[in-house]
């Protein structure tokens, strides 16, 4: 549900519609068409509202209701849950102090507490998945590292703006520059790890996977090769301006897009192949990281900040289910449901 909402939000948000669609190239005056695309703004805004509700709710549920025996996984879940509480408190304060003030109502301290908790949950989750000694564990760890780089950018700027010391901002700048490299690497590793599992599955699903990848790559090639005039610019613009991905240069654009397409298709097939809880959670974690974490890593918005934490929580839960089988708690939940 969170994945779906985040996906809809990303593609119907105002920025995507107002800045990314090639309306200018089509000779359309943006000011004139704004009223016509207002309905889409409502869809984007609605999705954002649902996301604002779902993100803390899901985190609280995963953190408090989920029993686990693993130290790091539990620590990650509780850090996520605490992050959700702080985020909700910040949102409430925001409403109290003036919802539409140009400046944020929450303090630098609050922002740093939230970011600190999210950082903890992400670091713990990264350590958790690294204990899972296979390619999927490494892929998720690198994807989580991308989140950390985005968070570090925010932390650096908040510290410099409020407490001085330009070294923090410089560090934030380096983090932003490194983001697309880590994101591309993580996405490709995820696609490789997930693809290995999907291709190992008998039946038509692996052919469907290969076909989906080929179609995805063919479309990307056509777009990047400007088969449709101006399309390469539009796609690159989406990556940077809709997804808020910093540090991207022109040569990186095709790689980032390829990693995004491949990992997105892989995550969907991991979910579709019904390969047990382990595979499903890996797919869900990957999907969350691709859609949310990659997308919003540079935004200081509580809703967006919580999404990497949610992905980290998913990763922690994933480890609680050893490879190849259902963990006892999952069996319990299945029995209860039945």
């Amino acid at each position: 549900m969170v994945c779906l909402t985040a996906f809809v939000e990303a593609f119907f948000n105002r920025e995507f519609l107002a800045a990314v669609l090639p309306l200018g190239s089509a000779g359309v005056n943006i000011a004139e068409v704004s009223p016509a695309i207002r309905a889409f703004y409502v869809i984007g805004g609605y999705s954002f509202g649902v996301l604002t509700l779902l993100a803390p709710a899901a985190l609280l549920a995963s953190g408090i209701l989920k029993p686990s025996t693993r130290l790091l996984a539990t620590a990650s879940l509780y850090a996520s849950a605490l992050g959700a509480v702080v985020a909700v408190a910040m949102d409430v304060q925001h409403v109290q102090e003036g919802i539409n003030s140009i400046f944020q109502s929450s303090s630098a301290g609050e922002s740093l507490i939230l970011l600190g908790l999210v950082t903890c949950s992400v670091i713990f989750a990264a350590l958790v998945v690294l204990q899972h000694r296979d390619l999927m564990g490494l892929a998720l760890a690198v994807m989580l590292l991308t989140e950390l780089l985005g968070i570090l950018f925010l932390v650096g700027n908040i510290v410099t703006a409020n407490f001085g010391g330009e070294g923090w901002s410089t560090l934030g700048g380096f983090s932003a520059a490194a983001e697309p490299y880590a994101g591309t690497l993580g996405g490709l590793l995820f696609a490789a790890a997930g693809g290995y599992r999907i291709l190992g599955k008998k039946g038509g699903i692996r052919w469907g996977y290969v076909a989906a990848l080929l179609v995805g790559v063919a479309i990307e090639y056509a777009v990047m090769a400007n088969v449709f005039p101006g399309s390469s610019i539009v796609l690159g613009t989406i990556i940077i301006y809709d997804f808020g991905f910093l540090g991207v240069t022109d040569t990186l654009v095709p790689l980032v897009v390829f990693a995004g397409i491949a990992s997105f298709i892989t995550a969907l097939f991991l979910l579709a192949m019904r390969g047990g809880q382990n595979t499903t959670f890996a797919g869900l974690t990957g999907l969350l990281l691709i859609i949310t974490g990659f997308v919003y890593a540079s935004e200081t918005v509580t809703t967006y900040i919580l999404l990497p934490s949610l992905a980290a929580a998913m990763a922690s839960i994933w480890l609680a289910n050893p490879r190849g089988g259902n963990a006892p708690n999952m069996e319990k939940s299945v029995r209860l449901k039945g």
Partner: protein, 552 residues
């Protein structure tokens, strides 16, 4: 119908109703949240413009005044404007920015300091800094051979053949045709100024046109005057009225000999075509100026947008239109707007603005001719400072970039200026500097410095009064400019062009939105009181303890 079937039906109905109610509840909550909350924080990151009592402006050595040393630089990551393979844009990964403000005789001034790397060899950088070229497409065509002039009945079509350019026919271009076919942005048509005049030889009157260009911007007939063989102009001539001009004698009788007219553009390169390019023509000697820009949000977009993934972005394939809302841009370029008097086109306080595309009778005056109205409080007298450079002050909205104080055919975008000057007066140069809006109320200073490792850096300082109310004596210029106040927070974005390696026009690196907080004089600390978060600490501790208990 069996009981079991009915039971199933009733179950589905119940589930459907519950589901519907659930969707309504979540939907209502979500819309409410979106409208009322949006986020607890902002998507733009924040930097502070620190209050510095009695700060001095040192435009000859930007950033060297002592107070700058105590203000931290904020690293601002940049992204390419045209993110595509082979794009010339996006060579700057980040720049550094700091801001301060001070009072001078009770009038507040903002100072913005930008510092960033300049790419290119020393010789390329020097060329870009002092002797840059005009932009060309990768195929070598002039990027923008035609310029903007208000849509009007003065536009004429000048025909030519590739074989013989010594004669031409000149006809009016109907306004309806301009509006339907060639005008962009709305109200503006692309054109090129030409001069029409009449000579008398052996009792015969002959009409001529000079300054005409072909569709690529190259002078027709080798730049020599072209004889007009057929004339059909229908236009409104002040003090004469709307007339049809079909003979050279009418030009004399109406008193419009040597008058300037806009030659309508041929349809080969309009603003929407720019969206198809990812590169510009350049080599080691054909380079573009170094440029930088500070962009201030002027509104027109809900503040919510800045909190939820709203980025500043030009709409590709336009004459610089902005994705949403309106902004003011302080656009600096190294030539002619830097403070270096050795620049080929130095336009500082002592130099002439360029003439009217080289035509005789064009305007020519210094910046100092512009009137400094008493209603505009500016004790530093920006625009008249030693070592001062200028900015191109731009207003941008959903249709185009506009030059504030711009002059048609002198500045290269549509102009916003004194609304009482008519199109005919603009064409004929029938106005004086004192009537025009001040084109640059922002003073700049810049230096290029090479570090020991050989890397060149540009340091650039902007200074302006917080308020520009009264700057054009109430004609409205200040409505298009950012008005600042102590304690206020404003959305701002930055741009950096590597002209010495070929970046220009829409090919550059830009930042996402930032907030600038103007620190009030009474505030000793930053904008965010750290004490605010103490209230939620007990709740955090409680939850932490609960979590620890569960964990152990």
């Amino acid at each position: 119908m069996s009981e079991e079937y009915k039971k199933e039906n009733s179950k589905y109905l119940r589930l459907g109703v519950y589901g519907f109610i659930f969707i309504l509840l979540v939907g209502g909550l979500a819309i409410g949240l979106d409208n009322a909350l949006d986020a607890a924080s902002q998507s733009a990151t924040t930097m502070t413009a620190y209050y510095v009592p009695n700060a001095q402006l040192g435009l000859g050595n930007p950033g060297q005044e002592q107070y700058w040393a105590s203000i931290p630089y904020t690293t601002v990551p940049l992204v390419p404007t045209v993110p595509a393979p082979g794009s010339i844009a996006g060579h700057t990964t980040s720049i550094q920015v700091k801001m301060a403000w001070t009072y001078v005789d009770g009038v507040p001034y903002i100072m913005v300091l930008m510092h960033g790397v300049v790419l290119g060899t020393p010789s390329e950088i020097q060329t870009a800094y002092q002797n840059p070229s005009g932009e060309r497409t990768p195929q070598g065509r002039i990027w923008a051979p035609f310029n903007f002039f208000p849509t009007s009945n003065y536009f004429v079509n000048i025909t030519y053949s590739t074989h013989d350019q010594s004669t031409t026919t000149v006809k009016s271009v109907p306004i309806s045709y301009q509006q339907n076919e060639i005008s962009y942005p709305p109200g503006e048509t692309m054109g090129n100024p030409v001069q029409i005049y009449v000579t008398k030889s052996h009792g015969t009157l002959t009409a001529w046109v000079s300054g005409a260009i072909d569709q690529y911007g190259n002078p027709l007939n080798g730049g020599a005057p072209i004889q007009i063989t057929s004339l059909d102009i229908s236009a409104n001539i002040p003090s004469v009225g709307t007339v049809d001009i079909t003979s050279p004698s009418q030009i004399l009788s109406y008193g419009i000999n040597n008058s300037i007219w806009p030659q309508a553009a041929y349809n080969l390169f309009y603003p929407e075509d720019t969206g198809e390019y990812v590169d510009l023509f350049h080599n080691s000697t054909y380079l573009y100026p170094l440029r930088a820009a500070v962009m201030w949000d002027l509104g027109g977009v809900p503040n919510d947008w800045f909190k939820v993934a709203y980025t500043p972005h030009m709409v590709l394939g336009t004459s610089g239109a902005f994705s949403a809302g309106a902004v003011e841009v302080w656009h600096w370029n190294s030539n002619p707007r830097s403070n270096n008097t050795l620049d080929a086109g130095y336009a500082g306080i002592l130099a002439n603005l360029p003439g009217f595309m080289g035509l005789p009778g064009g305007i020519s005056w210094t910046m100092a001719n512009y009137t400094h109205y008493p209603g505009y409080k500016d004790p530093l007298n920006l625009g008249y400072l030693p070592h001062q450079g200028l900015v191109a002050d731009m207003y941008v909205n959903g249709s185009s970039i506009y030059y504030l104080g711009g002059i048609p055919f002198v500045t290269t975008f549509p102009a916003l200026n004194n609304p009482s000057i008519t199109n005919w007066q603009w064409l004929q140069g029938q106005y004086t500097p004192s009537e025009l809006w001040n084109p640059s109320v922002v003073a700049t200073g810049d230096t290029l410095a090479t570090a020991p490792n050989g890397q060149t850096y540009l340091t650039l300082e902007y200074a302006r009064t917080f308020s520009t109310v009264g700057v054009s004596d109430g004609q409205g210029e200040s409505h298009y400019q950012i008005q600042l106040a102590p304690g206020g927070t404003y959305h701002v974005a930055f741009a950096w062009f590597q002209g010495a390696i070929g970046e220009s026009v829409d090919f550059k690196s830009i930042s996402l939105w930032w907030n600038v907080y103007i620190q009030p004089p009474s505030s000793a600390s930053g904008p965010l009181g750290i004490q605010q978060y103490l209230g939620i600490l007990p709740m955090l501790l409680g939850l932490g303890a609960y979590g620890l208990k569960r964990f152990i």
